[in-house]
Symmetry: C2
Amino acid sequence: MSDTLQLEKQLCFRLYSVNKAMNRLYAPMLKELGLTYPQYLVMLALWDKPKAVTVKQLGEMLDLDSGTLSPLLKRMEKQALLHRSRSEFDERSVQVSLSAHGKNIRSKAKLIPAKMFAKTGLPLDEFLMLNNKLDQLLTRLSES
Amino acid sequence: MSDTLQLEKQLCFRLYSVNKAMNRLYAPMLKELGLTYPQYLVMLALWDKPKAVTVKQLGEMLDLDSGTLSPLLKRMEKQALLHRSRSEFDERSVQVSLSAHGKNIRSKAKLIPAKMFAKTGLPLDEFLMLNNKLDQLLTRLSES
DNA sequence: TCAAATTAAGTTGCGTACAACTTAATTTGT
DNA sequence: ACAAATTAAGTTGTACGCAACTTAATTTGA
């Protein structure tokens, strides 16, 4: 009767699918900037801060560990999106800062959120509501 | 003032984060069954069907292409979770069917959705509402 | 003070995702 | 009937995520 294992019913499959669909819509827009989605997240984090940020801080902001970030940042440095340098104060940590190119593409990136909002087809209040619900859910899941 | 590029505001970052958080909660439970999350999705699809399913059909159900599915199914066959065989009627297509082991672990898997629902900490009506909203969003995004 | 513990970043290995491509089988349109 | 188009899987190459591990620097505590 009520089979709990049905694919269509599962919240996490919805999240998985929506996440992939989002990614597919972002990909062509980001490609124009020479970015993947995780690289875009790094750029968002850097654009948001006036100063350089450590790899550890980036990891906290994006919830990614060094196993993901180290090669990702290395690729981004090779594309001249950012610089990396050992901290003078603590030789263990690495400072990540925007390159000129990295700063320049910000203006193009500013157009992206509005385009994506339009593609969701959601009225603003529903968009905000959904955002809030997901934020609550994230908090609960992180506590588990 | 209202910077549209702020990480915290973006719906897609929420989806990205929640999706990862979900995955982390699933991982230890699925590890007991010897499954990854995408492998679990394949098993859900197979458990749901009385007969064998083609790779193409699996791809439609899970929204994955053969570039992802072929190696994934090959790994699952090696773990004796399922069988693969060329269709007699159309030699291009491959039939995927459950092995005895694949059928057996279903009973253990049945406990997972309830555990995950508990971990969301959401009341049932909110859980269903969120599920619906994401389903709507998926439809809109797929149309774009 | 100085060995032990902790911390930050990086490396290795595995499993997705997906674009772009190849191969083989089937369908098609004349 | 049969060449051209289409279709289903699979392969190759790139980029995440993350577990487990290594290395080097800093902190700690007896």
